[in-house]
Symmetry: D2
């Protein structure tokens, strides 16, 4: 993914590398941070359930709820990615940037956003 990121990406970038994010919707950022803090609490709840030997099926249902919450965060990140990063690579990048972005999106969809 580095190639896309280096040349054309725009939706956020690593602090370390010094590059600034071209665009992160502030509402998406705020809502994702809120969701992730809630998920952190759910993970601690899971630890307590395991520690206190709760009924396995109840823990499994709770894990499923955390998975859904993570999917929700992923969906918002993907929205930001499509609206800013992918859009820029596709509309302003070279033909190769656009092709690389398509492959990156496919990979995210079929390997990571299951």
């Amino acid at each position: 993914m580095t190639k896309v990121e280096e040349t054309a990406c725009a939706c956020g970038t690593q602090a370390k590398s010094g590059r600034k994010a071209v665009a992160v919707d502030p509402e998406i950022k705020t809502s994702n941070l809120k969701r992730l803090r809630r998920i952190e609490g759910q993970i601690r709840g899971l630890q307590r359930m395991v520690e206190e030997e709760y009924y396995c099926a109840d823990i499994l249902v709770q894990i499923s709820s955390v998975q859904e919450a993570l999917r929700g965060v992923g969906r918002e990140l993907m929205r930001n990615h499509l609206q800013h990063c992918a859009a820029q690579a596709i509309s302003k990048g070279s033909r190769q940037d656009a092709a690389a972005m398509c492959e990156e999106l496919l990979d995210l969809m079929y390997r990571h956003a299951r």
Copy 2:
């Protein structure tokens, strides 16, 4: 699921209700607590990535890795559930207990363990 839990379950039970777990494999418990602490760290890492506006695709890959880790916890819980709880409901419970356990397992598999 309450019905199964009340009558036949054995693999762990809620502290509140005062019932004791019939069987939780200590290795599964220990390994799941370790995994869940690591997952908690990953969630905090995700918060930092969102906060610092990392590249969306990198955050998505990291979310996918947390989801796999949670699946791993779920799998171990399911192993415990099958070996102890489901086994007891099926071999020692009434015909109805066994049938209720089958439905509970189907529900866990097709609704929650996706």
Copy 3:
């Protein structure tokens, strides 16, 4: 899975091997055959959509509907499996039969019933 099948399974067996199914619910069998014929029709519909160059997103939605239908068949097979085969291995098989059945179920759930 052969080990389970050879020693303890009961929910159906390959015609070739000459062993008879101990138990296949006739309603499950009938309904699954009906579903699979409908799915065959949907697959032919997909071929036509691809042939006639339908809008990709519409084909993707149709594929998703076939996937759900296949999940439905899988769920019924799993119900039969749990009620007959797994139940027999767990309640009448040896300790090893029961353990092998648990591993088989975990494998089906986490690798195949996604």
Copy 4:
């Protein structure tokens, strides 16, 4: 999705409506038709397995293999969709076309390409 299709889509369109596909990669089309014919054969194989009361777990593994094959078709359709249709909506469509395409992609990813 109709809105996107009407205004900006380009990756294929329904024969009925009389609109021509702007772009369907011929290799993707050929390979998808081949895959779908193979999948049709697999579905008939599943019917036979159910008919002859094969071991449930073996049928479940086979269903999982059909699902992976369908995912493969979906992935190719998505590649075509991104390279042609989405790319056109994003680079040549209006701001609204681009936004509608993003929402359509999110929907496909998170509801249909699971």
